[in-house]
Amino acid sequence: MDRLPKWADIVLVPFLSLVLAAAVSAVVILAIGQDPWEALTVMVEGSLMSAYGWGYTLYYTTSFIFTGLAVTVAFHAGLFNIGGEGQAQMGGLGVALCCLFIPWPHWSLALLGAALGGAAFGAAWIAIPAWLQAKRGSHIVITTIMFNYIASSLLIYMLVDVLRPKGEQDPATARFPSVTNLPKLNELPGLDLLFTQEVRANVTLFIALAAAVAVWALLWRTRLGYAIRAFGKSQPAAKYAGIDATRITMIALLLSGALAGLMAVNNVMGEAEKLVGNSASGAGFIGIAVALMGRNHPIGVVLAALLFGFLFQGGAELGLWTKIPIEMRIVVQGLVILFTGALDMMVRMMLTRIFGLFRNPARAQGAA
């Protein structure tokens, strides 16, 4: 098979996958008797046409950058961390414990502490699957799926039996002290001119962007990053080059878990301001779609996270204003994963054929 030009690989393949996913989504909307054009208009109106809508979109984007980066780091080591959801939930527990039990003098210190707590809990939650992968060869995909369910059970237990304040009915922790409340984007100097009313997106957005830069620097500008990528490309070659397989597996996965855990700063500390059940609400899984769509590059991840932020906020608007259920966004998410992840080869084959036509019409005809 002919190789695609690099720009086509980076830009055209994800774009075409997205177009295919959008086309199938439109068919689905038609099939349930609704108007795809109207749906798109409602989504764009609700998520991109007002500062308020952008506040929601960016709030979701922040979460998805973290989980997308988590999947990305593991992918580069040739590992598929499907447990972002569980790690983000445990990260939420870490963040909640930090916020509830440490008397912080200022929100900025609380943010730092909670970020460390969330990352540590997220990393701790992948530590056992990581060790089992590195030492015993247990498949990381299966163990992290199992740990997602164990996490949600553990969290129900913690919220119902341990952290729930006396006399409360809902399984949730007490509200965090107000000193730990993070400033929303409309409370920041400069940005308050753009966001004139209270929005959901908060300062965590900048941590997410910083994390994207840090992941880029780590993977492409450090010795460790090189070792991770080499290990992911070819384990035997990496071993031959003296790269310690156990060490790289552990480091890559712990980093991945830490990034997923960091997400909790956004939703638990920045938004809910208490820990509730199912706090990650699927963002861990969306990380998979974001990483695939973003071609496992931090820039791509940020852009894909923005796209999914739009999809998520737009999907919520669909549920509010049209007869299309909010679950439409899960369908779109599934389609994006299907086309960008699983049917990658199909898209490439289509493109290669088209490119072949342009390059050498005679040969392409002969091949067909």
Partner: protein
């Protein structure tokens, strides 16, 4: 705890084990052929919705069952096209299909019935009702075994008996037929099977179709026998428990049955925390029981209690040498 309570729990365990068993055997065919399938959950869910919807509309549980199998087959075929034809990542394809099922089921059910993504409650002929086995009432007089027969063995929907029959059938197909030998071989060493002149693609597609049928049975059982109609996300992770059971059973049919019964027993126990407390003399949190199947599976995966070795070619698309 008296004998009657135990029988009640065992009865519930059998009912809970049935969808796990169908899904677990479904996974067994797919994974034995060398195709990872973490999309069992999604196939069950789409089957549950199709079965619940068609049963509600037609009033026939059997038509519902056919629709459920049809729905799961479509998803199995998509998985086949992505992972066999286009050699895509099997895990990612499974994840994608799970999301598709999760969203599509609600969309379609909402479109058909406008009840918030549920199907209307079904009853009578639209459900698979319990059947009483012969002599169940008469046998009650026999101490110990009699009540066990009447309570636990008898009085289930026909699909329950079909699930256990499928275990025997799967064992026979896997170890006593030519198809079974080829199926096991293609999951270990597809190149060898190919060299013998047998089509790897065809074998794997056949396996995936069987997976689809069994997932269809699992989903239909959920919507038209265990419960009365489809509800949003009603499979609630059972596809993953089935996957866990499959690993726990080390990809063997008879062991799969015991694993599913054990996990079904845990699910039944989770409904009776009082009994658990009586059994172990300390208060056991219900979430712990919910998490038990997953924890046991991690233990087995870790290789501390006999190593679980998956089919060797699992997860790798087969590329024919040219």
């Amino acid at each position: 705890m008296d004998y009657n309570t135990l029988l009640q729990i065992l009865d519930t365990a059998v009912r809970f084990a049935t969808p796990l068993l169908f899904a677990c055997l479904a996974g067994l065919y797919s994974e034995r052929s060398g195709v990872f399938d973490i999309g069992l959950e999604g196939k069950m869910l789409i089957a549950a919705m199709c079965a619940g919807a068609v049963a509600a509309l037609s009033g026939s549980a059997w038509l519902g069952l056919l629709a459920g199998i049809g729905g799961a087959l479509v998803f199995a075929l998509i998985h086949g096209v992505t992972s066999i034809t286009f050699r895509g990542n099997q895990l990612i394809s499974g994840v994608a299909l799970n999301f598709l099922a999760s969203g599509l089921t609600v969309l379609v059910a909402q479109r058909l019935f406008q009840q918030g993504g549920r199907t209307p409650p079904i009853s009578g002929e639209a459900r698979f009702n319990p059947i009483t086995l012969p002599f169940a009432e008469e046998a009650r007089q026999i101490p110990l075994i009699g009540p066990f027969y009447a309570e636990v063995i008898s009085g289930h929907a026909i699909l329950v008996y079909l699930a256990f029959a499928s275990v025997a059938l799967t064992w026979w197909a896997l170890y006593r037929t030519r198809f079974g030998l080829r199926l096991r071989a293609v999951g270990e060493n597809p190149a060898a099977v190919d060299t013998a002149g047998i089509s790897v693609t065809r074998l794997r597609f056949t396996a995936l179709l069987i997976t689809g049928v069994l997932c269809g049975l699992a989903g239909a059982y959920m919507a038209t026998a265990l419960q009365a109609g489809f509800g949003k996300e009603m499979t609630a992770g059972r596809g993953y428990i089935a996957l866990a059971a499959l690993i726990f059973a080390k990809w063997r049919p008879i062991a799969a049955m015991w694993a599913c019964l054990l996990f079904g027993f845990f699910q039944a126990l989770a409904l009776r925390p009082d009994v658990v407390e009586w059994m172990v003399r300390v208060k056991v949190p219900v979430p712990f029981l919910d998490a038990l199947p997953y924890m046991l599976t991690v233990f087995v995966l870790a290789g501390f209690v006999g190593k679980a070795i998956p089919p060797r070619a699992g997860g790798e698309p087969y590329v024919k040498e040219r």
